[in-house]
């Protein structure tokens, strides 16, 4: 359940950046290959926000797809599975997107 510490990191980072401002909402980006389950973050979010400037804030999570490039045949393709495999059969694949775990923006009063 690393999502609890991930969510705690989100709330800590926002309170650090935003000071005393009341935060109404949070937009996150959790890539499909990040190893973090968005719904587990949603589950933790309200609990972690309680008693902070984020209490009651809404949460929006964008889930960018995984992208990869094959080092053997140079094909670029979509990858939703953390086991990288090119349609050509090669596993020599570089993941180019989908691992991000970012706080994009917040909405404040």
């Amino acid at each position: 359940m690393h999502e609890l510490s991930v969510t705690q990191s989100v709330v800590d980072a926002i309170t650090e950046r935003m000071g005393d401002a009341t935060v109404l909402g949070v937009c996150l980006e959790i890539g499909k290959l990040s190893g973090v389950v968005p719904d587990a973050v949603r589950f933790c979010f309200d609990v972690v926000c309680t008693g902070t400037t984020l209490e009651g804030a809404w949460l929006e999570i964008d889930e960018p797809e995984g992208r990869a490039r094959c080092r053997d045949c140079a094909a670029e393709f979509r990858l939703d599975d953390p086991i990288p495999l090119c349609p050509c059969g090669s596993a020599n694949v570089e993941i180019t997107a989908g691992r991000q775990l970012r706080i994009m923006s917040v909405e404040v009063n």
């Binding site: 510490s5 980072a13 909402g25």
Partner: protein
């Protein structure tokens, strides 16, 4: 549970063998109260990663090889470290991570290596802040190997950079050969995989060729060493690996070792 199709909506896909189908995630719109938007665009784990870099710099400046050792509970991390402390003839120190108890630290201490125990309580992994505190408690000697025995767990520790130089994943053959496919994040982040308890292979259906194929599907360049920490099989390969990766440390005061270990991939 979703009333339309029965999916749980929590990212977990529930399917029967032979009847697998994928659900699209359902979007749930909420009536949001909107103020004004402030763009932050920062990594969620930025603080951890910053601390991890700080740890990495501190360790490399002292020529300390930090090894993050990860596995399921019971795969043989502590047994391997006990044996390494007794036999490898390498200066070493150990940071033990467990939810509770000093049991592992006591075993390492009895084997003769300096050790500190981190008890994470409810936590399922170590993070860079815990390592920072533990490193300054155990104070690894310049030029030594610092083993960080992570909490037994094949999921969460993969995500958290501690500032280590090398990531080593142990899989014991009793766990089954399919683990790289089941826990790809962990195996993808490994620099070395130790296949432990190979003395039990005659009693098991473990298919080493299939294991190697799966491990290299998630991590094409990963090295694999086969060993038995209890019987002593294959340990010279492990000790050689440690010696190869230990920085060429010049002396006790200001070693020229170090180098610039970049951010490790997760």
């Amino acid at each position: 549970m979703c009333q339309t199709c029965g999916c749980s909506g929590d990212g977990a896909v529930i399917a029967e063998p032979g009847h697998q189908h994928e659900h699209e995630q359902h979007e749930h719109e909420h009536g949001h109260e909107h103020g004004h938007r402030v763009s932050l665009e920062q990594d969620v784990l930025a603080k951890n990663d910053l601390l991890a870099e700080h740890n990495r710099r501190w360790l490399t400046e002292r020529g300390v090889l930090a090894v993050n050792l990860m596995s399921s509970p019971g795969a043989g991390k502590t047994t391997l470290l006990e044996r390494t402390a007794r036999e490898a003839d390498l200066p070493m120190a150990v940071i033990e991570g467990d939810q509770e108890t000093m049991l592992d630290a006591e075993r390492i201490k009895a084997a003769g290596a300096p050790v500190v125990q981190i008890n994470t309580g409810a936590g399922c992994h170590l993070d860079a802040a815990m390592l920072d505190r533990a490193v300054h408690t155990v104070e690894p000697a310049p030029g030594s190997v610092l083993f960080i025995e992570n909490v037994g767990n094949l999921v969460c520790p993969a995500l958290f950079d501690l500032g280590e130089e090398q990531r080593v994943v142990i899989l014991s053959v009793t766990e089954g050969q399919d683990k790289p496919r089941k826990y790809p994040h962990m195996f993808a982040s490994a620099d070395l995989v130790l296949l432990n308890k190979v003395d039990l292979l005659p009693y098991l259906d473990f298919d080493i060729a299939a294991f190697l194929r799966d491990a290299r599907r998630v991590n094409p360049d990963v090295e694999v060493v086969r060993l038995s920490a209890t019987r002593g099989t294959g340990l010279t390969d492990w000790y050689s690996w440690l010696r190869e990766h230990r920085p060429h440390f010049a002396g006790p005061a200001h070693g020229s070792a170090g180098g610039s270990a970049g951010q490790k991939r997760r």
